[in-house]
């Protein structure tokens, strides 16, 4: 049975069979992961950081699988499909990320390893001796992660939709709930080891999917030159701020979105968690060199948006552009394979995100404010339950709230995440800024960022107009600038009011690589 063209949906038993096969394989792997590099999973650093034993190779797959999510694979080409070159800000974004990681994350890893810390909020508390600032960092991380998990489920939903499960009479809820329950169970039992092991299979499948797509589809469409020409024609017909090149009005927003997103990425709990699970600072540096391989893939995936235009894929919802293109270009068995790759691309990050949020919640919210007498085993058990709760919340949000809600919140989440930059990243180098000043700066950034985004109708960019010139600036960066200004100005005042600051539990040497490494 084939549904009318235009919806992008195709029901096919072969596709569904291939999809189900890989899904079952992954589930088995997820549960098996508990035995992989066996550790005592009743310890939080074993469950939530995989015992900090992942070498360069595993970390590469884990971080790659973590950062390039199903939502990215659907949303980036969707944006390119809808408006063109502007959606490519994801490329400079991923170029900027790795030099930043290379310089900052080894320092964070060293300090955290030395003191047994497992979250960025742990570090902030140890560095500044301020529970309040640590709480701000933890709350920001948990808040920003929830909608991100929800969006992974949205990505999953698109895949199910494209496979025509709706036509089977299966509601949209059932497959999502099944996928969620499987994910929740193996994350609960295996912790970070599950997504690490699954990431191998998922990333291999994703590379096969992308390489096949960017080789085969353009051949069918007459080469890349023809793809770009066809996209340009489609945009010309559409009008507005679209095209395969940027409009001059888009220069500033393109550049600041890329820069701001790059600063925010490694502040997210799922990125921090995957980074801290590495076995050493050299592993992180090596990954900063080799992770850009995924950025090439992301760029190629973004081009799928143009290919969808060139193939005359006409979908109302841009998120369906890639699934529809897959259905239109590949035989059912390979379409099933591609959909499985994207679906797993949702489950790996969703698992890591829920673990990252659980680590933060348990360590930095539950332990200091609810019960500070936790044994290690209790701490690990609470984190496992929180990871369930976080995923359940995301599932409810996807099932019962409009998708736009999750997308808007995720946008705000990026703006919020940037506001812990002064405390975490500057804190790796200097303690000159006082904790109370940083807290004030964080508050100013959070309020201003949210208010500006709200005022712009939940758009990420604020436009300054000088005469005829328009400068669109990413709101996250604007809020960060205010955050910095407040932190810097308030520091001398804080120092005057209270001469002694809380003790710093780190020493300069804690940030350096251990002598042997």
């Amino acid at each position: 049975m084939t549904l009318p063209s235009g919806s992008g949906v195709r029901f096919d038993a072969t596709a569904l069979g291939v999809f189900a096969f890989f899904f079952v394989l992954i589930t088995v792997l997820g549960f098996f992961a508990a035995r992989w590099r066996r550790g005592d999973l009743s310890q939080l650093h074993e469950w939530g950081l995989g015992g900090r034993r992942f070498g360069a190779f595993v970390t590469w797959f884990l971080l790659g699988g973590d950062l390039y999510t199903a939502y990215t694979l659907i949303a980036v080409p969707a944006l390119v499909y809808a408006i063109g070159a502007y959606g490519f800000f994801a490329m400079p974004y991923t170029v900027f990320v790795y030099p930043i990681v290379f310089l900052t994350m080894p320092r964070l890893w060293n300090a955290c390893r030395k003191h047994g810390w497992i979250t960025s909020a742990d570090f902030v508390e140890g560095r500044y001796g301020s529970r309040g600032l640590a709480l701000a960092v933890a709350v920001t991380g948990v808040l920003a992660t929830m909608p991100y998990i929800a969006l992974q489920l949205v990505g999953l939903e698109k895949v199910f939709e494209a496979m025509g499960l709706g036509a089977l009479g299966v509601g949209r809820e059932t497959p999502l709930i099944v996928a969620f329950v499987i994910l929740a169970l193996y994350t609960y039992s295996s912790g970070l080891r599950a997504p690490a092991l699954i990431a191998f299979v998922k990333d291999a499948m994703l590379y096969i999917t992308v390489i096949a797509a960017v080789v085969i589809i353009p051949i069918k469409l007459g080469g890349y030159g023809a793809v770009f020409d066809a996209a340009e024609k489609a945009f010309a017909a559409k009008g507005g701020d679209t095209g395969v090149l940027l409009k001059p009005d888009q220069y500033w927003s393109f550049a600041t979105l890329a820069l701001g997103s790059a600063f925010a990425l490694f502040l997210y709990p799922h990125a921090t968690t995957a980074t801290l699970s590495a076995d050493g600072p050299q592993t992180i540096r090596r990954n900063a060199v080799w992770l850009p391989a995924y950025s090439i893939m992301l760029g190629l995936v973004a081009l799928l948006g143009y290919m969808a235009l060139a193939a005359h894929i006409d979908v109302k919802d841009g998120s369906m552009a890639v699934p529809a293109l897959i259905n239109a270009s590949f035989p059912p068995w390979f379409a099933g394979f591609c959909f499985a790759a994207i679906a797993l691309g949702a489950l790996v990050p969703a698992a890591i995100m829920s673990i990252g949020a659980a680590n933060l919640f348990t360590r930095n919210i539950w332990r200091p404010y609810v019960n500070d007498q936790l044994s290690n085993a209790q701490e690990s058990r609470i984190a496992k339950n929180i990871s369930l709760l976080v995923k359940f919340g995301a599932l409810l949000a996807v099932l019962y709230l409009p998708t736009k809600f999750a997308i808007d919140l995720q946008l705000l989440g990026g703006i919020w995440m940037l506001q812990i930059f002064p405390a975490v990243i500057c804190g790796l180098y200097t303690r000159w800024l006082r904790a109370s000043a940083l807290l004030l700066g964080w508050l100013a950034g959070m309020v201003l960022g949210s208010a500006l985004a709200w005022q712009q109708g939940l758009k990420p960019v604020y436009t300054f107009v000088f005469g005829d010139a328009h400068y669109g600036i990413y709101i996250g960066l604007l809020a960060l600038a205010v955050n910095f200004a407040v932190s810097i100005l308030a520091t001398p005042i804080a120092a005057k009011l209270k001469r002694e600051s809380q003790p710093d539990r780190t020493q300069a040497l804690d940030y350096q690589d251990a002598a042997a490494g």
Partner: protein, 62 residues
Amino acid sequence: MGRLRRFLPVLLLIPFIALLWVPFYNRTQPTLAGFPFFYVWQFAWVVLAALLTWVVHRGWRA
């Protein structure tokens, strides 16, 4: 050379300059294999930035 090595991370600023200077690469010509220059430049910098990071990684002694 020993002294200069401290400043090796400065190399990591180059990709930022190359990609934040948007008007420079927002053009169609020259194309490569059908790709407008806008895309060629961005893909090239993914590779070049990784290469620079590798150079810093090999040579940097703080």
